[in-house]
Structures are given as C-alpha cells and as structure tokens.
C-alpha cells in the first residue's frame, strides 16, 4: 500500500487514526503445539518450518495471511500442502487442505478465499504444512496455533484517496452553497441550447403542433434523468402558458411517475391545471428498441414541431434524431453519454454537451444553491487542471533532467485496482 499522499495533512491524520489502530502489530510467530505430532518426518524430504499468520487488512474478518518458512533442503519437494483446523478440534478429519503451493512459488497465501472452507471472524485456527513429492506423498511439519484471530476492520485504508477527494469535494460544494445563499453575485456563461428552448416552444405554438419531450431512457437514479426532469418542469410551464400539446413518452416506470408529477405541477404553477391532459405523459415499454419503434411511429404520425431529447441515451439517439429531422422538427438534445453526443451534434439543431445538461437545470432554475454547486464544480475542475498542468511540467522535467518526479505525483491520485 502506498502512503505518500502528502498534501492535506490535517484531514488525513484524522482519517488515518482509526485505520492505524487496527492495522498495527497483528503478526506473531506461532509456537509449536507439541503434543500432537502425527507423522515422523522422512529424512528424505525436509519439512517446512514455522508458520506465520497475520490478520489481513481491509477485509470483513474472513481472511488470514499465512506464510511459512521453507525447509532448509528443498530437494525433491514438488509442492506444499497447507492444512487448517479449528484449534481444539482433534483427529485427522478435522484438518482441511486449504491451499497447495507449488515448490517454486512464494510460501505465502491468503486463506479464506476457498468457499468450502471459509474463515470465521474470531475463531482460532491451527495450521500445519506438508512437503509433498511428485507422487503426492506427504511429510508433515509441526502443528502451529495461529497467535491471532481474523477480525473485520472498520476503515478501509486503501480507500483513503477517495475519501480525501470526496471530502474535499463536499467541502467545496458546501462552501459555494453558503456563498451563493449569502447572496454573492455569480456569473454564468451563456449556453446556446438553453436559450433556444423558448424559441423552439414558440415555434410549435405558431405551427399548432405538439412538442415531444423524451426524458432519456435511463432510470430515475441516473443523474442525467434527474437533470432532464428539472428541465421538463420549465418546458412544461412554458407549454402550459402557450397551450401547446405536449407528448412525454417514458421508458422507465418510475421516471414516468415523476415526470407525470412534474408536468402536472408545472401546469398548476402556470395557472392552467385544467389544460393538463393526463394522457400527455405516459409509459411506453421498458424495451429499448420497442420504445424507439413507438416514438418513431408517433413522430411520423403526429409530426411534432419541436423535439427535446434530454437525458441518458444509448444507440437509439440517432434513430430518434434522424427520424425527427425527417419529420421536419426543430430538435434540441442533451446527454452525458459520450458515445451518443456525436449523433445529436450532427442531427439536432442544438446539443447540450455532457455537463451542460446538468448545468441547464441550474440555469433555468436560477436558484442560488444550484448556481453555487456549479461554481463548486468549476473549482474542482480548476484543481484537476492544476494537477494536470503540474504533471505536464513534471513530465518535461523528467525528460530533460532524467528524474522520476511524475511517478511521485501520479501515486498521489492512483487508486489501487484491487481493494
């Protein structure tokens, strides 16, 4: 485990305390249990020495790190069989073969992965290791009692970087929440797609044709869907004022219920609850391409004047947008799906790229906290950019001066693949 995260010391020390207290000093060389020597070691094959057992860090208390000393003379040894039993149990059948380690490999392994012989938290075990010949003949070493028992940790030391980054992020967002609520003026740059929304609704009104709004194909827990529903609220409010028909097909049943609520509420806020058509927001089907078949058919029959595709989309993006363009609609799209953006860009009139979609809900709402959050996100991007810039400079220094300082910087943000 790497521990070179110099930088935000105070927060870290705080976080490390609990982990250090559980991580330290859990290993101990075991004392042989003398009474039970099961087999005479054959002078022909030397037997392994002391077995060391440590508690594994960052687990739920179901793993032990086991290692043993290799015999002085490894000649003729093909592999080592490691046996384990619960301390106190007697008899040959209490022993379970938990690992076979080939002679050329390191004499250590993590015990507890074999589902047939799991390790229980707080249970004391005994180990013994046998040298085996190619034919499987075993020569047992002495029995050792594990000096420790496995226990679960309350903090995962390998996740500290995520914790620090998360903590920093939360701090920045809340800082800007506060700032925004205290009334600090915050600038927001214009986004073309957002400004076009009103114009597009106006066009539908003039033409007397409906507006189609697809809130993405993903579920309610998808951030893109949440952003889309916020925008839907604003769009529906405008539409309620203009009395233009609205069509909102949904693929996810939960999104459907929320969308229905949002639209109903928008009509209420616009002062036109009577104009709300309960059939305007509806569920179609959960199947992706059946959904597209339905929406495409609707587009060619109803010929909406304006299509909104905001939210999460997959391969259907182009099917929807190209059919929409064929039907002659003005189209505004927005998604955080990187793969689908090119298709919206090429076929729609305006496209909100990635984060712009999320930002749009803050733009339309103009709530101080939402704008504060945007500001906080910008601050985070600035931090990321400074990291990348420093990395670039270090990279140049590395090339010129033949040093390795970039590796050091990378290690600060590297998260382990195996946790």
């Amino acid at each position: 485990m790497r521990k070179n995260w110099i930088g935000i010391p105070a927060l870290m020390i705080l976080l490390l305390l609990p982990s250090l207290s559980v991580a330290q000093g859990d290993d101990e060389i075991l004392t042989p249990v003398a009474e039970e020597q099961l087999e005479e070691p054959d002078p022909g094959l030397d037997v392994p020495g002391a077995v060391t057992v440590q508690d594994k860090d960052n687990d739920a208390g179901d793993n032990l790190l086991v290692s043993f000393e290799l015999p002085a003379n490894t000649e003729g040894i093909f592999a080592y069989n490691v046996y384990r039993r619960v301390a106190g149990e007697l008899g040959e059948e209490a022993w379970n073969l938990v690992e076979v380690i080939p002679a050329e490999e390191l004499p250590e392994f993590i015990d507890g992965y074999d589902p047939e012989y799991p390790i229980s938290t707080g249970v004391l075990y005994e180990y013994r290791v046998a040298s085996t010949t190619v034919d499987g003949e075993e020569f047992f070493g002495p029995i050792f009692e594990a000096g420790i028992v496995s226990k679960g940790e309350i903090y995962h030391t390998g996740k500290t970087k995520v914790l620090i980054a998360g903590g920093l992020f939360i701090f920045l967002i809340f800082y800007y929440f506060g700032k925004a609520q205290r009334g600090a003026k915050m600038y927001l740059r214009p986004i073309a797609g957002i400004e076009a929304i009103d114009e597009a609704i106006g066009r539908a009104t003039e033409m007397g044709k409906p507006v189609l709004y697809v809130p993405g194909l993903s579920g309610i827990a998808d951030v893109a869907t949440i952003a889309s529903l916020t925008i839907l609220g604003r769009v529906a409010k405008k539409i309620a004022l203009y009395q233009t028909p609205l069509i909102v097909p949904n693929r996810d049943p939960i999104v459907f219920t929320v969308a229905e609520e949002v639209v109903k509420q928008a009509y209420l806020e616009a002062g036109r609850p009577d104009a709300y058509d309960p059939d305007s927001v509806f569920f179609l089907t959960t199947s992706q391409f059946a959904f597209v078949a339905g929406v495409n058919g609707m587009m060619m029959r109803e010929k909406p004047a304006t299509n909104f595709y905001l939210g999460m989309f997959w391969a259907e993006s182009l099917l929807l947008a190209e059919t929409g363009s064929l039907s002659g609609a003005i189209q505004i799209a927005g998604t955080d799906a990187v793969t689908q953006l090119p298709f919206f860009i090429t076929t729609c009139d305006y496209t909100l790229i990635g984060e712009e979609l999320y930002a749009a809900s803050a733009y339309l709402g103009r709530e101080p906290k939402q704008i504060g959050a945007l500001k906080g996100q910008d601050a985070c991007k600035a931090i990321i950019m400074s990291f990348i810039t420093v990395a670039l400079i270090f990279g140049i220094i590395d090339v010129v001066a033949n040093t390795h300082i970039l590796d050091w910087l990378r290690d600060l943000v590297t998260t382990p693949i195996i946790e």
């Binding site: 740059r189 827990a221 219920t257 943000v413």
Partner: protein, 209 residues
C-alpha cells in the same frame, strides 16, 4: 417446423420494420404497436419470474425471511399512485431507491470518473522506445484535456487569452473527438445490418451460407 415458422414470422416482421424506411404505413404501425405490447408484457412476465417470485414470494412463503416484508411493502407503496389521496406514499420507495443509489454512486464516481481519469491524464511525455507521434500524441492529449476542461467552465466568461482561446481550442478538440467517434461508429452500425442480412438471406432464404 417450430423453428421454420419462427424464422418466417421473424423475417416478415423484419420486412415490416424496413418498410418504415420507405414511409410510415399500416404494416409498420401494426408491428410497432405489437412490439410495444409484447415487450411490456414480456417485461412484466420476466420481472415476476426472475425477481418477484424467487426473491420475494418464495422466501416469504418458506416462512423465515420476514425481513423481506420491508422491501415488499415499500414496493407496494408505489401502487398507491393509483389512489390520489395517498399517492404521496409512493415517494417513500422512490426516496429509498434515490438515496441509496446516490450514496452508492458517490464514491464510485469519484474513483472512476475523477481519480482514474486524472491518473490517466498524467502520462509520462516520453519513455524510451516511444515514436515521435506517440510523444506528440501525449502532449496533444494533455493539452487537449486541459482545453476541453476550460470549455466546461460555466462561471467564467469565455473571453481573454486563457478562457477565450482555451475554450475555443477545447471545442475543437471535442469536435475532433466527436468526428472520430462518428466515423468509428459507422462500422458497428453497418455490422448490425450485416447481421440482419445474414438472417434474411441465410436463415430465411438460404441463398448465402
């Protein structure tokens, strides 16, 4: 026989969908409505089969998993939406789902979208054995990432040397990326058509192997 009829039915519906390329027509309309109904009905049947029955009903009937009543009741609260007076109860399961999902995603997003990407952007410019275009590529990648990030700054006007030029380069980089993705995708889309042609000409008509 079963398979043969199946392939014929499949082929006819395939043609029904392709007829949409010419224009919207009653055959397409029928296929469209059918597939909506079938897929929604299929969704219901399969959800009962692989979720509700094995995960809720069977364990409850077996008698010793009473704790599952909690998700069961939360689930049933959705259905209060049909009763306007207590429809607000449906917010409880939505709340549970929203809250827990947001919590699960938070650290994972931090790791995958932020830390991993940041790590990926910190590449050594040159290592022995790298060709010149790889080195240039690395430099372009780093500078491109920076520029595109500038484009996503919302709280600063895109004017001046840093934010103005930066965001302009940023949108260029983004467009190059989009063009590449588009070009790259063409292949996959044609493959889908190849799959259908193999079905029509091979499985159905047997004119190709």
């Amino acid at each position: 026989m079963y398979e043969t009829i199946g392939i014929w039915v499949g082929a006819l519906f395939t043609l029904a969908i392709y007829s949409f390329l010419y224009k919207e027509n009653p055959i397409y309309r029928l296929a469209e409505h059918l597939v909506v109904g079938i897929s929604a009905g299929y969704g219901m049947a399969i959800t009962y089969q692989i979720t509700v029955k094995p995960r809720l009903i069977d364990p409850l009937l077996s008698g010793d998993h009473w704790i599952l009543l909690i998700p069961g009741i939360l689930g049933i609260l959705y259905i209060t939406r049909f009763i306007p007076r207590i429809s607000w109860l449906s917010r409880y399961p939505i709340g549970f789902y929203m809250g827990t999902s947001m919590g699960v995603y938070f650290p994972l997003t931090m790791k995958a979208n932020v830390l991993r990407q940041l790590e990926g952007a910190m590449v050594p410019l040159y290592q022995s054995g790298m060709a010149w275009y790889e080195v240039t590529g690395n430099i372009i990648m780093i500078l491109g990432t920076l520029a595109a990030l500038i484009y996503f700054f919302f709280s600063k006007p895109h004017k001046g040397l840093f934010f103005g030029t930066g965001s302009k380069i940023g949108i260029w980089v983004i467009m190059v990326g989009f063009g590449a993705t588009f070009g790259f995708t063409v292949m996959g889309r044609i493959s889908l058509l190849i799959g259908r042609i193999q079905y029509l000409l091979g499985d159905w008509l047997h004119v190709i192997e």
